[in-house]
Subunit: 208 residues, 2 copies
DNA sequence: GTTCAACCAGACAGACCGGTCTGGTTAGGA
DNA sequence: TCCTAACCAGACCGGTCTGTCTGGTTGAAC
């Protein structure tokens, strides 16, 4: 969902071969972020070089270094954008629900939706984390995204009336992570359903 | 545990600054594997270059290319060695147990032991997978290791008398993966205990 | 003593990457 | 019309990476 009226909406058609049509084109920054999103997620932040990104975006090298401090900064911006997109998607999924238990299970339902998407290649933050040095700005975004997810599970566990909301939140987060790993390595949506089934049991045991 | 009498036992003191003493030294191949194990696991298979490995091993470049086809082959050998070490460690942990339920829980106890080790940095296969291209020989080793773990959980679930051993095995594997991710990102042994607690509930529900 | 295999040390080549710089083009506003 | 900002195209530099090659050393077998 693009609410910035200064920029036309980005068409995220995955298989488009030509870089981006020159009619009604986006700003160089927006095209760079779109190309980074596509290439970094598909092939890894380290495998993809600057040259590939600017070629895909149809942008000059100087434009990249005018909009970003360097490759690390572009990676950070890519991850930050993904983090906001994901958090917004989760919040939208939970918005029309009231019972905390339903919200928790809805998160796993959302995982099944995400895993079913044709271009899904696993959790972007896990994959990027493994490619980046500890302490880099990109890693901080990943850890921030992780912290947010953990806090969400703990808060929902608290609302469920769990005796130990921290412990239950940790357990639910565990299932969330495990589902992502399994989806990345094994493919399919089965892991989201398996995690949901375990979550139902765990909730029943922790929230009497 | 080194049972190969052809080679002296490798001293895995982590902070030793000198490469390896020239007395009773190992073969070039063994030293290369030891250095690869140390550096690849600590800093990533992609971040660490050939130069770093041969310097740490105290080995000439030509010796590397005489023992391995190239860097990819060295990475594959490193992962294959790790896979065998891990499988042997799990099998040793389960050897003196008879009840399948105890064996399953012992795997999570072993995770807690592993997570508590000072140099633990997460699952080597997950981290290496994220750094390698799909279809590479190293990736195949990782997927093989994953397949083995899955088969182990499914077999133990079957021995437990689960109605759906495949499903229960998948759920247990999910907890295993989630614990590894949480240990890598958050540190500590809490995730192994949390996964064990959920496993107890899941087993109780699936094996009446 | 000779031979041979395994090894060490390091120079070197070719490729690639991130980042800088120059020069030319376009569009819009004063 | 002129000016300015944003942009494109691509040469270029320094560094790093994998992998090859040459030459010298050691030690054990014969």
């Amino acid at each position: 969902m693009n609410t910035n009226i200064l920029e036309p909406p980005v068409s995220t058609s995955p298989g488009s071969p030509a870089p981006v049509p020159h009619v009604a084109r986006l700003s160089a920054r927006a095209r760079l972020l779109a190309a980074a999103e596509e290439l970094f997620y598909k092939e890894g932040v380290r495998s993809v070089g600057i040259e590939r990104v600017i070629e895909r975006a149809g942008v000059a090298k100087a434009s990249l270094y005018g909009n970003f401090k360097g490759k690390d900064d572009l990676v950070r911006a890519y991850l930050a954008e993904r983090r906001e997109t994901r958090q917004a998607r989760i919040e939208a999924k939970l918005a029309h629900l009231t019972a905390p238990r339903d919200k928790i299970l809805a998160i796993f339902d959302l995982l099944a939706e995400i895993f079913a998407e044709p271009n899904y290649r696993g959790c972007a933050f896990m994959r990027a984390s493994a490619e980046m040095q500890p302490g880099s700005s990109g890693r901080e975004v990943c850890e921030d995204a992780r912290q947010w997810t953990r806090a969400l599970f703990v808060e929902l566990a608290r609302q469920c009336g769990a005796a130990q909301p921290e412990a239950l939140g940790h357990q639910l987060h565990l299932l969330y992570d495990g589902a992502a790993v399994s989806a990345q390595m094994d493919g399919g949506t089965a892991s989201a359903l398996a995690a949901r089934a375990v979550a139902v049991q765990t909730l029943a045991a922790a929230c009497p």
